[in-house]
């Protein structure tokens, strides 16, 4: 397929690595915002191949990881109800709430279904008029348009037995929160390519200016990531802090205007808690007044469920790039992909799971040395 193999070519990757080695004269700490990028970096061993000057800090852009525990608990409460069909993307099923996960709710008789598109949930609602169908609408700006579309369609077609459990979060406020943190070490960002393919690049120049950091819109294949790193390093070395688009095959400055119009109609900005990080003002979306009737939290009265996070889990510091996953005392001991304390160990995009799966070798070697 075009655009996949071409962007993992080992020879071109080697040339990009050489070029990064040439331009990097000092240590730089760069954060890749998106969990998909973290996964790709670790999966292909890119961080091992980078020169020692370049440190990649893994950002908070894994939608599964930042969904707060209490939202998971609300999802579990709804999914356990009789006459509810609870639909979710696959990788939310294993995320632990405070007492169970969606797999356990399913085995206890809850009707939990994995769908591959939110619109499949809407189809289920039409086919099962005597059931309440709920879709777990989480994620960043990337997944939001399709989720918004379900609510838009439900209203237009008068599908009353459909609702959305919304926990959408936004990238730009997270970048602000990271830069405002007193311990912040991040000097440059690889912005999440797919978020920008929806939203465009318009939100980023103000951030680059305010925090004086380069922000390079970056894709997900190995060459995309290396090109993004190279451009960030060149800006840092030259003392520049601009927004650059290193993913032009998917991202335009204005973004997907039809999707943005739908998002503005269906959602409104709200404060959101991020798992492990806490409240970030104006960092999420909820359904706008016009569509509030489709809000699952209100329909099933689960808004009162509040939960406290595990104190052992340091995923918040991992998500902010303050520690590496293996620097957490619970990593690989009390906390493994099989028994995860925090969502960063569950999701295949989570930094802790990526480290556990792909990096255990050198971590084991290091601890024995």
């Amino acid at each position: 397929m075009k655009y996949l193999e071409e962007f993992s070519d080992p020879e071109l990757a080697r040339r990009l690595l050489d070029s990064i080695r040439e331009v990097a004269t000092r240590p730089w700490a760069i954060m890749e915002v998106c969990g998909g990028q973290t996964h790709s970096i670790i999966r292909h061993g890119i961080d091992q191949l980078l020169p020692n000057e370049i440190e990649m800090i893994h950002g908070p852009g894994c939608p599964v990881c930042v969904t707060p525990l209490e939202v998971i608990d609300r999802a579990l409460a709804i999914a356990a109800l009789p006459d509810v069909i609870f639909c979710s993307f696959g990788d939310m099923l294993r995320v632990p709430g405070s007492s169970a996960d969606l797999f356990r709710i399913k085995s206890a008789g809850g009707d939990v279904r994995v769908v591959y598109s939110p619109l499949d949930a809407l189809t289920l609602a039409r086919e099962n008029p005597d059931k309440q169908v709920v879709f777990f609408g989480i994620g960043f700006e990337t997944t939001a348009p399709a989720n918004a579309m379900t609510v838009y369609q439900a209203k237009r077609l008068g599908i009353r037995n459909y609702s959305l459990l919304v926990s959408h979060v936004l990238v730009p406020p997270a970048i602000s929160a990271i830069m405002e943190s007193p311990q912040c070490r991040v000097q440059g960002f690889l912005a999440a390519g797919h978020v920008c393919s929806v939203m465009g690049t318009g939100e980023y120049p103000a951030l680059a200016e305010k925090y004086r950091v380069p922000i390079v819109v970056t894709g997900f294949e190995p060459l995309d990531i290396l090109a993004g790193i190279r451009r960030t390093v060149m800006q840092l070395e030259n003392g520049r802090h601009e927004v650059e688009n290193a993913y032009p095959r998917a991202v335009t400055d204005e973004g997907n205007t039809a999707a943005i119009a739908m998002l503005r109609d269906v959602f409104e900005v709200t404060d959101r808690s991020w798992r492990g990080i806490g409240m970030i003002p104006g960092s999420g979306w909820r359904l706008s007044d016009k569509y509030r009737e489709f809000d699952a939290e209100a329909r099933f009265d689960v808004g009162g469920i509040h939960t406290v996070e595990s104190t052992l889990c340091r995923s918040g510091e991992v998500l902010q790039g303050l520690i590496k996953p293996h620097e957490c005392a619970a990593f690989g001991k009390q906390c493994t992909p099989r028994n995860p304390l925090g969502a960063t160990m569950v999701s295949s995009e989570g930094a802790c799971a990526a480290y556990y799966l792909y990096r255990r070798l050198e971590l084991t070697a290091a601890s024995h040395a």
Partner: protein, 346 residues
């Protein structure tokens, strides 16, 4: 396989009803007019309570497996050939020559007889290719809503020739890892027609009996240490198990893995790793380095081994772990999959 037509005695009910599992006349009709004609020449049933077999000489291999695939029919196969090939392959992986299979069906009320007919024909055809006989069987019916149409269990018996000693503990440092063909086709083919995930693809399941390939490999006279058919959990799960059981490390080179472009593209879209995707017609072989070339050449001479390739080796480092060298030159640990493969969110 689409040619099945309902025989006259079964036409009163075009779908399974509870009576088909009663053990009475309806059960008998189903066996006589559907299963036995479907199995064709592969059937060796004398309708007793058990099959009576001639004495066998040599060590016996005995294996059983149950099949619950959904959908029942997928590109390149169906639950029927899978049920025959699965048990044939489990026997072949201990170096046995598979001889006899039992077939047990759990049928859901309401399942079209035409579906069951096609499945029976596929089983007969697969057994014919593998050279095994279907010697005994059973049919039960469960209420509508209590099954996915057709569940099948098969068990099989085979004979292991003298001098053949194939088991996971024999993997040793310095041994070479060979895979017999392209990986990932079965899992992707089945996923491509799952409800809600239909995507256009030309990928077909690789479902096939591997006993012929194993015979060809053994005919080289090489001392084959380990064989595994990497079904659920894929090549990653098989090599992890071997590494753990034998106490060796396994290194593989991603660049050398035979992965069809269509499979790697589908996996990229779904966020899956081809190493974890199920196969039904390939095997992983572990042999001494000195004999690897001979075994590889023999495999490549067989219809099912044309794409065979050396993908790695057993090492003394990191015992119990599977480590892949990435195309870019980095290393990554390839762990056992935890549970179901879950497509990623975005």
């Amino acid at each position: 396989m689409d040619s099945w037509t309902c025989p006259v005695p079964l036409r009163d009910s075009p779908t399974i009803v509870m009576g088909h599992g009663s053990g009475g006349a309806m059960s008998g009709e189903l066996i006589e007019h559907l299963f036995l004609p479907g199995f064709g020449d592969a059937a060796r049933a004398e309708m007793g309570d058990s099959a009576v077999l001639a004495p066998l000489s040599g060590r016996l291999a005995f294996s059983t497996d149950s099949f619950v695939v959904r959908p029942l029919f997928f590109p390149g196969g169906c639950i029927g050939d899978l049920a025959v090939n699965g048990t044939v392959n489990d026997l072949a992986m201990s170096g046995a020559r598979p001889l006899y299979l039992s077939t047990a069906f759990i049928l859901e009320e309401g399942t079209p007889l035409s579906d069951i007919g096609r499945v029976a024909q596929a089983m007969g055809a697969a057994a014919g290719v593998a050279g095994v006989h279907l010697v005994t069987g059973d049919t039960k019916v469960v209420d509508a809503g209590h099954g996915d149409g057709i569940y099948i269990n098969t068990a099989g018996i085979g004979v292991i020739d003298d001098g053949v000693d194939i088991r996971p503990t024999r993997a040793a440092v310095g041994d070479v890892v060979i895979v017999s063909g392209c990986i990932g086709a079965h899992g992707v083919a089945v996923m491509s027609c799952r409800e809600g995930l239909e995507f256009g693809t030309t990928i077909e399941s690789d479902s096939a009996p591997l006993n012929g390939l194993v015979t060809t490999m053994l005919a080289t006279g090489a001392d084959i240490h380990v064989l595994r058919d990497p079904t659920r959990g894929g090549v990653a799960a098989s090599l992890n198990e071997i590494a753990r059981i034998a106490g060796v490390g396994v290194n593989i080179v991603e660049r050398n893995l035979p992965i069809p472009e269509s499979v790697s593209n589908a996996c990229s879209l779904l966020g899956l790793d081809p190493l974890y995707v199920a196969n039904e017609g390939i095997l992983v072989a572990i042999v001494a380095a000195t004999e690897a070339d001979a075994v590889l050449a023999a495999m490549q001479s067989h219809e099912l081994g044309k794409e065979a390739a050396i993908i790695g080796e057993c090492v003394a480092d990191h015992p119990g772990m599977l480590v892949a060298k990435t195309a870019l030159g980095g290393n990554r640990v390839v762990d056992l999959p935890i549970g179901e493969m879950l497509p990623r969110i975005c």
